[in-house]
């Protein structure tokens, strides 16, 4: 696991949640806040100079707020479960699109596949390249990134993006 990449993942996720859905978060060190919560898990896979995927787990209870804030619905208007999950898919899509240039530089071209909800049949990520946690009002969320080659120390964007200590 790459700590610098994990930090970037958390920063971009927090920024995207705030800008797209007006959901404010702060980083968390561990998973304690996630225990006992039912999570909705969404993934997006990408290909390019290197392949991989990104995953976001969010409390089910936060989905409605996420979708309502993104869509700006009228008071009392209810959104379907499909619309709520569509909002989550768009969120991971934007997070992924904003993380990749941070870690791979602004010249590399990536293609993102359509995001999908994770089910029991989805492959398990045993060794993600990065993982981070965020606490929000309705619980905690986890964000992970998988990279299909062992290049955690070679990512061109990380050194520059990290800046001086």
């Amino acid at each position: 696991m790459n700590p610098a990449l994990s930090r970037k993942l958390v920063e971009v996720t927090a920024d995207t949640l705030e800008k797209m859905a007006f959901i404010f978060t702060f980083p968390a060190e561990d998973v304690a806040a996630m225990e006992g919560q039912i999570q909705e898990v969404v993934r997006v896979d990408f290909s390019g100079p290197f392949g991989g995927g990104m995953e976001l787990s969010l409390p089910s209870s936060a989905l409605a707020e996420l979708a309502v804030n993104m869509l700006g619905t009228e008071d009392g208007e209810e959104l379907s479960a499909e619309q709520q999950r569509d909002a989550l898919k768009e969120l991971i899509n934007v997070v992924c699109g904003n993380v990749l240039p941070v870690v791979a530089g602004h010249v590399a071209e990536f293609n993102l596949r359509p995001p999908y909800m994770v089910s029991g049949e989805s492959p398990i990520w045993d060794d993600p390249a990065a993982v981070g946690y965020l606490v929000l009002e309705s619980g905690a969320c986890r964000v992970r990134m998988r990279i299909d080659r062992s290049l955690a120390q070679e990512l061109p964007g990380l050194d520059a993006a990290d800046g001086p200590p």
Partner: protein, 132 residues
Amino acid sequence: MAVNLLIVDDSGVMRSMIKKSVQMSGLQIGEIHQAANGREGLNALDQHWIDLVITDINMPVMTGEEMIGQMHDRPDLKSIPTIVVSTEGSQTRIERLKRKGLRFIHKPFSPEMLRDTVKDVLGSEVFYEPSA
């Protein structure tokens, strides 16, 4: 003059966000058409008079870049103003799109960013006068 829009994005939520942002912008809107990928976008362009295309890049079936390429190959579509709204972070790809005369807005975007870009592309005369 009312502007007919085509919004191309595989996310229904993002299409709704763009639609709502445009509706809030003061743009004089005629019809708003939607498509979930580049292929559907080209079909919509064949069926309707469109004054402005707002499109994503990464989509299944046909990407936005492929759709724009086909638009530029057709004399009847090549001059339609097009704004790309995408998470795209590759300057290589963004510059390639800009060389085709397209405008680019990075997600996440604000309604003001979209309004200002549409105003730059179409001119302020297609916006309602702000009330005094």
